[in-house]
Symmetry: C2
Subunit: 162 residues, 2 copies
């Protein structure tokens, strides 16, 4: 859960009845220390601006964006539970049926004032299978909480000692 | 009135009680065809996102921004009535006590679909008096309605024939 990602869903600002010109344009810090934090401490947390999506089951061009499309927005946001490549490993599975997300550049540290709250990874979508995938114009920013972020009140998974 | 400008005031999103990450980030087209248009057809039009300012009486660093400052926003918006250099001329007076706004680059045409709705001019603030002013980092975008914009329902000023 600590490595949930927050990226692109359907803003549906219409539902909020905002005046023209108002939109969801969060800073990296807001995404992490408000939205992602709330999602991590409570998986049932939901908000109008960010939907839930299974990234491994959705191609980028299938990602739901509803209201967004009408408004011509090119960026939108969603929560996604991290899928592991192997049950016992730490590597993240970012493949879909048609291709895969590949990291590019260096992860960026996100601060709230002087406090490191999380990291931002930039990924590009490739069609096909690595290493022969074909690069596309789809870009995703993946946010994760910093390990030291105060999540001591997280619901813990019970351990069973055999 | 047709050349009113819409630029930088105090957003005070707090008053709207918006969730984190929501802010006033209008497109050029929204600024012109919604906000500026409404202001031009009714000088009493007011909105939470855009205040009224006399640009000739405010130095850039004095422009009111209230809520904005708290949020660390670096851009804000206001309406301003165009001041003419000479009563009978068409040139705009953009001087303040401490300096002046000088146009840079070419005006940009702003479209709504295929319809030209207005123009966007970029200005830089210089301290002192032209041509010896000292360039600063303050930038302003000035919007004006296109002459062909449907303002036939504008309140007309009565003409007195002597």
């Amino acid at each position: 859960m600590e490595n949930n990602v927050a990226c692109g869903v359907g803003m549906e600002e219409d539902e909020m009845d905002l005046p023209p010109g108002f939109r969801f344009h969060p800073t990296d810090e807001e995404l992490i220390s408000h939205y992602l934090y709330n999602k991590v401490i409570d998986i049932n947390f939901s908000c109008i601006a960010i939907g839930d999506v299974d990234l491994n089951k959705s191609e980028p061009w299938e990602l739901p964006y509803e209201g967004k499309a009408k408004m011509g927005e090119k960026e939108w946001y969603f929560f996604c539970i991290r899928d592991r490549k192997y049950p016992t490993g730490v590597r993240t599975n970012r493949a879909t049926e048609a291709g895969y997300w590949k990291a590019t550049g260096k992860d960026k540290e996100i601060y709230r004032g002087k406090c490191l709250v999380g990291m931002k990874k930039t990924l590009v979508f490739y069609k096909g299978r690595a290493p022969k995938g074909e690069k596309t114009n789809w870009v995703m920013h993946e946010y994760r909480l910093d390990r030291k972020f105060p999540t001591h009140n997280l619901p813990k998974r019970a351990k069973v000692n055999k």
